[in-house]
Symmetry: C2
Subunit: 333 residues, 2 copies
Amino acid sequence: MQKNNLKTLANKLGVSVSTVSKALRGSHEIGCDTTKRVLEMAEKMGYRTNPYAGHLRNHISKTIAVIIPEMTNNFFIQAITGAESIAQEKNYHILVYITHDDYNKEVSIMKHLQNGRVDGVLMSLSASTQNYDHLNKLIELNIPIVFFDRIGHEIETAKIITDDFASGFNATEHLIKNGCRDIAYLSVSENLSIDNKRKQGYIEALNKYDIKINPARIIKCGVDENYNYKTIKRLLNGKNVPDGIFASIEKLALTSYAVCNGLKIKIPDQIKIICFSNLITADLLNPSLTTITQPAFEMGKQAATVLFKYLDKKRTDIPNQNIVIKSELIKRN
Amino acid sequence: MQKNNLKTLANKLGVSVSTVSKALRGSHEIGCDTTKRVLEMAEKMGYRTNPYAGHLRNHISKTIAVIIPEMTNNFFIQAITGAESIAQEKNYHILVYITHDDYNKEVSIMKHLQNGRVDGVLMSLSASTQNYDHLNKLIELNIPIVFFDRIGHEIETAKIITDDFASGFNATEHLIKNGCRDIAYLSVSENLSIDNKRKQGYIEALNKYDIKINPARIIKCGVDENYNYKTIKRLLNGKNVPDGIFASIEKLALTSYAVCNGLKIKIPDQIKIICFSNLITADLLNPSLTTITQPAFEMGKQAATVLFKYLDKKRTDIPNQNIVIKSELIKRN
DNA sequence: TTTATTTACGAAAACGATGTAGTTCAATTT
DNA sequence: AAATTGAACTACATCGTTTTCGTAAATAAA
């Protein structure tokens, strides 16, 4: 079969490969009528430039990677959607990788990217990541990373975050104002700055209202769904049950709901729950869930925007900066 | 800066580029100790093979595209996750594209893929797609497509579907058995085979129970959220209100819930709702939602498996076949 | 008319890895 | 001793573009 490349086009038109290449990219070096002839022929033959050849030549892949811990979390989905909206505008392609909150997988993915496959990376750290060498290595290789939400503080680059501390504070205060005095905080991972900041906000709010911090109320949950279920069940099953739960992430709130359903604990009468979440169904839950809703779509969009800003400039050394987009406390039942 | 490529490695080791290349891929042409030296040096220098060079040479990108209509639908998310699990196993990369249910965007994306950027495509059609030329063109260019869920019947390839007709029938029968006599069907698009089949199942069930089909109860909804809200509100606001709703897709059920909340219509007392959905929160909704749950993860996995089966064989002409994975009716309130 | 400049194009060298077709040298066979 | 074999390695063309440099012809300036 006839190959559909520049050479074939050039032969058909009786001009050189360079002429065709230049004409296609609208170089002024080529005359108007020649350009027109080339364009017409390319259209007629359905010519599409081979991306890999160009990438090889120019070291520009027009591709970015988006790396997230999991897909079953609306925050990340919305963030990707935001990033995608910008990428589509800029004619960039998006490679999606999921770490499943596994540090080793994260490292392995990073290794796959150490070769120019992508021009840049948008990412949210895995919950089990404590060492940042694999990330710094990538930056060293001139592949910039922009973090969103689950950021690596120690890495010098742009980070798109929400006001976790303030939101954690507000969430806790909301519970307190609604009568809670014994609030449990469900933590997902001590490695994550978002978790720590939210926890700090929680502690600060308790302090403000002179409620004693009870370390036993700071519950370490994790990635494993079964473990979380058991842990939360243990929390809610004794006689000494808290009257409020602040879940650091959506999943933990849903698990709490499920546990309450199982134990026939009435929400919000016996216990009140609040969490960080981007559930579209939060309003329709039984009862509706009060959430700190992160501007996920905006954060994804912003992250992509920042990344592209530097890629356009052909700069890969993104200066350290924190971009904060505020979350919103949506009061429900 | 020193480039990190085969040439550099070869120079450092005092051997030829070919030797390094062959050693790295474990060719028996190269002696044991040389191979070892090469491997050690590659490790030491953190050498990663440049994917684009290889792709250019071999026309194999080790990349597939996953094309979906939207992200805010758990079915697609789970399907991608399924596909990703297989791709990661096979060391393939995944490019994600979203059509936003827009035919033109779908065509534009297909054009971007007509050049070997990907080895194959997994896709679910946009709701507005009626013409399949852009898809057949891709297959013609030896880039195979495997469809899942929203398939193109007229295209000869593998299609992963669920038992839409039977499930539509069962869903409707479930409503009838629970006392509904006037059931509305919320359709998303007449272009989609899933919609038509579900509708056929709905009609068949009504027939079985000698319930007259009322064309006014087949409600055409669409992609636009506001339009859907208004349409469903009009349906539920009059005096002649149905006692059951069968939503063809998740989004329409959620909108129905929202409308009922607004109009203070009690579910399931005044109206019963059932839908195709993969909501994790279905159980926690107020009241919990009875769903036809599609095996989304399995479907994504299966689609990827079929695609890779042919890619491994270096065959791009995937014979026509329908693979049906059954959905499950999960009864709730 | 001669010289300088511009216009429009072509030749060829990259980009990095791969694989074919040698080449060398030593070991083995005749 | 000559011929054959084989192991271990190298040179080089190739994939499809892009881009730099060159050059011929046409035009403008001297």
